[in-house]
């Protein structure tokens, strides 16, 4: 019998199980490669590369400053928690607080603004769903100046920079932003929350509200703003999170 079915299925089965085993080994090797990292790495480099790739895809295909996040009625406002206080250790008075602005191309800060100089800009209000990277979200009202209008007034020409860097006055917390997201019409330098002046725990006197990003980018108590082409360091990106963190 030329084609004994028992011999034939044994042959096919042997071949297929070898392929399956080889595939499993290749898969495990791939997983090993994905996870390979120096002991002090916050995230395996291969995964960091994938996050960068995803960022490129999103920025080239999906992202637009015409895409606005949903706004809610006042009745939807919830009670947002104070989730972190990095960079908020010192007690400061609003009167002592200054915002240092370093425009694009400048070596050092060109302006040290008072809160009144920020308040002098047109006030915008929004009720948005504030989203934490942890997975929870709370509808919250914020009011403040658009970062785009702030930039046009206090750092004109800085829109050309690729990135915006912000730090707390003590430098303990810091975020890096891509300029398109920073200039999004719903990105605010906020001094009011839920109809009241911003509380200390939520970043008084001035915090960033950038609803196209996770909460980790919404830095509290901003001390410095700089416009730069080099990607600024970012507190949570140094701890394994996506630098872009866009929504």
């Amino acid at each position: 019998m030329p084609n004994d079915p028992h011999a034939e299925i044994a042959r096919r089965s042997r071949r297929s199980f070898i392929v399956l085993g080889g595939g499993a080994a290749a898969g495990l090797a791939g997983l090993w490669a994905v996870n390979r990292a120096p002991a002090d790495a916050d995230l395996p480099p291969a995964l960091r590369t994938v996050l960068g790739f995803n960022e490129k895809v999103v920025r080239n295909t999906l992202y637009s400053n015409d895409h606005l996040v949903k706004e809610y009625p006042a009745s939807a406002i919830g009670k947002i928690k104070v989730n972190a206080d990095y960079g908020l250790d010192d007690d400061i008075e609003d009167a002592d607080w200054r915002l240092q602005v370093t425009p694009y191309g400048a070596a050092e800060a060109s302006a040290k603004l008072t809160i009144d100089e920020v308040r002098a800009l047109p006030r915008h209000e929004e009720i948005i769903d504030f989203k934490c990277v942890e997975g929870w979200s709370t509808v919250t009202q914020f009011a403040g100046a658009r970062l785009s209008e702030f930039t046009a007034k206090y750092a004109p020409g800085s829109e050309k920079a690729a990135c915006v860097a912000m730090t707390t006055p003590d430098g303990e917390y810091y975020v890096g932003l891509d300029t398109p997201s920073a200039l999004h019409p719903q990105t605010l330098l906020a001094y009011e929350m839920n109809g009241a002046p911003l509380e200390a725990g939520h970043g008084a006197p001035l915090r960033l509200v950038i609803p196209v990003k996770y909460g980790i980018k919404n830095i509290k108590r901003i001390g410095t703003i700089a416009y730069t082409d080099t990607r600024p360091k970012d507190y949570w990106a140094e701890r394994g999170y996506d630098w872009y963190a866009g929504l």
Binding site: P5, H6, E8, I9, R12, S13, R15, S16, F17, L20, G23, A24, G27, L31, V34, D42, L43, P44, L47, R48, V50, L51, N54, V58, L62, Y63, S64, H67, L68, V69, K70, D129, K131, C132, V133, E134, G135, W136, S137, P211, V212, W236, R239, G240, Y241, D242, G246, L247
Partner: protein
Amino acid sequence: MTLLEEKHKLATRWFHWINFPILSLMIFSGMLIYWSNDVYTIGVGSLTVFHFFPDWFYDATHIDHKLAYGMALHFLFAWIFALNGIAYFIYTVVSGEWRELAPQAKSFSEALQVMKHDLGLKVPMPPQGRYNAAQRITYSAIVVMGFFSLLTGLAIYKPAQLNWLTALLGGYEWARFEHFWLTMGYVGFFGIHIAQVIRAGWSNFRSMVCGYDLVEMEKNHAE
């Protein structure tokens, strides 16, 4: 006489065996993410019957405090999961294989018969093609679920850029809830699927690997 019969096409087997480890990794990395806001429970009113997940589960699995790593893994394997799933769908439609798979009008009443039969009741197995009625329904449902996992996942991943999709799925929090329960659906499917594979025996499992099985044919038919 004994003949070789093709049970599963090469493409189907590749899609299946790629999907299995990738979906497992998606569930694993998804749990690393879920841990940081583990809000879902089964219960009535204020009475919680089961909390996803209890402390003993976290203690046993050590999936806690790995949110960043979980997100990075999830957004890598999501690509493979999506591309493999889309390729499978296109293949199934174009090749005509869907005819063996899609539920028919009679599938829903027959599926009940299949279930009773499988549970050991003295109900005869209805005549079937490659897949029985219960398989047609579940294997089609799992494809639809996969599609919704992709959609709900995108709705949570980019709720600002894809705000229309997030809204369509009931909003951000609903999309996360749906994403979670679809995943629980896979876990349930997996349990039943493995039990059925064990019950069906070795030659059935082998056919999912090599594509073929042996069948007995009457001589005068075969010759």
